[in-house]
């Protein structure tokens, strides 16, 4: 049963890693983007729940590097490398970045979902990590979990049911 499996939960603006067996999960992605990195040889995975595209806009004292695309992804690579993962083997999948609400006069913050997704992609390509699959955009929320044995990403949403990437 899925409930008996070992599950690592990743909160909003948070990141974590898992190895061996089990699932790494984050719930309720709206405009946020969940990016997973996977080392298929070592059965090791990481997941970041990215909330904002760039740390340049940060005005906080102690920067939460898990929150921004440009800081979360390098940190995730660093964490996985520290556990022995090879950067050359890492592959990425991602989901989220939707536009939950649409208005007539859409300001910049309204497009935050697509911007998050673009920023994560740019960061992945800068890091030289191939993006194998993505399920981004739309106007609905997603819960995702990656199986760290197979690298399969499960995506659940109210409208679309369960998808596998």
């Amino acid at each position: 049963m899925i409930d008996e499996q070992y599950i690592v939960k990743v909160g909003m603006a948070d990141l974590n890693v898992i190895r061996g067996q089990g699932l790494i999960r984050t719930t309720g992605l709206g405009s946020c983007v969940g990016v997973t990195l996977f080392d298929p040889l070592l059965k090791m995975a990481g997941l970041a729940h990215v909330m904002l595209p760039s740390s340049e806009i940060a005005r906080e004292g102690a920067l939460n590097i898990a929150k921004y695309a440009d800081t979360a992804l390098p940190e995730l690579v660093r964490r996985l490398s520290a556990l022995g993962a090879s950067r050359g083997r890492l592959v990425a999948k991602m989901a989220g970045g939707s536009q939950m609400f649409t208005f007539a006069g859409t300001g910049d913050s309204m497009r935050i979902g697509p911007r998050n997704a673009e920023s994560c992609k740019a960061m992945l390509s800068e890091l030289g990590i191939p993006l194998l699959a993505e399920d981004t955009g739309g106007n609905y929320g997603r819960t995702i979990e990656l199986d760290c044995e197979t690298g399969i990403l499960f995506i659940r949403s109210v409208q679309m049911g369960i998808k596998e990437l």
Partner: protein
């Protein structure tokens, strides 16, 4: 942000009063529409970690119906009116006499009725606050969503996201007398709006 570091009891009380006045007027409007008494809980005002915000409505994956308004003017912010899908159906039945055809989805007619109800309630919430503070505040047109609470509410946390991992939330629950319809108002003023609200209400700002 220093403004929130040690917000004294007194300032919290002022924000509670903001919730009381806004939600109180909205509850009165709803009570008139339903011709039924509506009770209101004491507003909860708290600096909540992002993770905990969705817990307030039952968790990040809980499916809720939300009417969202961006508040524009002197003190911009985000206002959510949140109902369980069941409560929304009951409200539609009571108010518009719409028969419940499906428990899981909403027809275009139901959607538009909810949007109008949301408009009336948010209008009374925001206009009473604007009167009380003499600040200009206008809600945008409503945007509706039926989705996971985490995905919906995170949208209202973006402005706080740039400065930390928690948000100041003014949360007011209202309950129809027979507990058939229960809903919540979440007002999340942008971080910069708090100083203006306090100043408008004559609360001294002792931070530099």
């Amino acid at each position: 942000m220093d403004l929130f570091k040690d917000l004294e009891e007194f300032k919290m009380d002022v924000l509670k009063e903001v919730g009381n006045i806004g939600a109180g007027n909205a509850a009165t409007a709803l009570s008139r529409l339903l011709d039924k008494p509506i009770d209101m809980a004491v507003p909860k005002v708290q600096m909540l970690p992002f993770e905990a915000v969705a817990e307030r409505v039952g968790g990040a994956e809980k499916i809720v119906l939300a009417v969202f308004f961006r508040v524009e003017g002197d003190t911009p912010g985000n206002l959510f009116f949140i109902l369980s899908p069941e409560a929304a159906k009951k409200l539609l039945h009571r108010l518009a006499g719409l028969k419940v055809e499906s428990e899981d989805s909403f027809s275009e007619m139901e959607w538009s009725a909810l949007s109008e109800i949301g408009n009336i309630l948010a209008g009374s919430y925001i206009s009473s606050l604007a009167d009380f503070t003499s600040l200009s505040m206008t809600p945008t047109v409503p945007a509706l969503a039926l989705d996971m609470a985490g995905a919906i509410l995170s949208y209202g946390l973006l402005q706080f996201g740039e400065m930390g991992d928690s948000a100041m939330l003014i949360d007011t629950t209202f309950i129809e007398g027979q507990h058939e319809v229960e809903g919540q108002f979440f007002l999340i003023p942008d971080p910069e709006s708090f100083a203006k609200i306090f100043t408008a209400l004559g609360v001294p700002l002792d931070h530099d």
